[in-house]
Symmetry: C2
Subunit: 267 residues, 2 copies
Amino acid sequence: MNRAELIKQIEGKKSFLCVGLDTDLTKIPKHLHSEDDPVFEFNKQIINTTKNYCVSYKLNTAFYEANGASGWLSLAKTINYIPKTHFIIADAKRGDIGNTSSMYAKAFFENLNSDAITVAPYMGEDSVKPFLAFKDKWTILLALTSNEGSRDFQFFEINDELPLYKKVILKSQVWGTSENLMYVVGATRTDQIAEIRKLVPDHFLLIPGIGAQGGSLEEVVDKAKNKDYGILINSSREIIYASDSEDFAEMAGVKASELQAKMAKYF
Amino acid sequence: MNRAELIKQIEGKKSFLCVGLDTDLTKIPKHLHSEDDPVFEFNKQIINTTKNYCVSYKLNTAFYEANGASGWLSLAKTINYIPKTHFIIADAKRGDIGNTSSMYAKAFFENLNSDAITVAPYMGEDSVKPFLAFKDKWTILLALTSNEGSRDFQFFEINDELPLYKKVILKSQVWGTSENLMYVVGATRTDQIAEIRKLVPDHFLLIPGIGAQGGSLEEVVDKAKNKDYGILINSSREIIYASDSEDFAEMAGVKASELQAKMAKYF
């Protein structure tokens, strides 16, 4: 999916909601455990009830890999099931030397056919560029994450007082463009979001961390939105585990619609 | 596998060789393509001819993920096939917020039963700790990588003149011990290896980058070896693609035995 198509989806739905399918086999309702593929069945029902309120789905690969090869199959089936109108993010946080990053790009862009992958910046340019070589596919580089541990290295400051996360953003900007490169910025980092928006006025930001992790939707939107909206705000646990009973999908839909209604005010 | 067992294997074999199974379906000999699982068949034969010369196998997950769910199955079958005497490294370069890193740890330590996983440090302590919680399992943290892009951020210097890779090593040391934490240090970074050894005199170092990437075995051993040996030196392409004909496994064995013979001089 290209940038214009993504913006069109956002405007059409008055939503920049991304639903995070962090589907944990131990947390899904008991009645699904008799299904052949409980994880896929769970995802399918969640997609059915949330798709009108969101423009994107983010699949956290860890939750699928924890189930081995069958988990990878649930991941592939879920991606196939998501409507082509939705922007599909493999939240994989990959990154390795060039020939290996090329294989990861092949895994996620060709084999799984996702639109985007999250990538860790530590290994630098030649570890990121292979992902940027795919047409209409996106690299979402970790800049400033939502977790406590982001304080360990990401705020690490150089002589000219630029912390590492800003250096990552400034340096990586020229590796791609606002047509194929986004940044992960945690919703718990509201003080920094406005500064990041100044550094990259046009790039999309993928913002996880509202809900369970404590970030506020309104604060984030105020600071991160640009003229094209330019944001995807992810919510995972708050939506997909809204209920642990037979009404889980219905309740996920309710939660997603509530978030979409809050977002609609900005259109 | 615990530290004492690993050292015993190294002393017994006079080898600190790790064979990297970066098995690319497009690079394996043609006659294997008629097999049900060509990647697994290739790995099996390579393991048979190299296992007497190495103490460890490193599986680069990208090469398996590129083949989707069946690739993940090849990965699992290969890990099962490796003798229990060998230290198994999932070269996965994972790392995410705590609950997600826990799922990755489950995927690689429980589901796949590898001994170790490589982890990216960018997200800090709470992204690394879940891996360190598993008994007799190892976290191998990226410190200084062998690729050109390592210059982009890893050498990034703070006011007190400590580059990021040293800060990663100093800070992470207290997260684990030399019994469950190793560091990745690229063989192409010989100037820095001696300095890193001073910072972590006891920790094992996983050193990729000899052979195809240009690092020299002798230079690396001189600078990195400690009283317990304390190194695993990886070679991938140089061994597994020593020949692209029917004698590929035999030639891989020859190459591995040559490297082991060079290592034996240090015992």
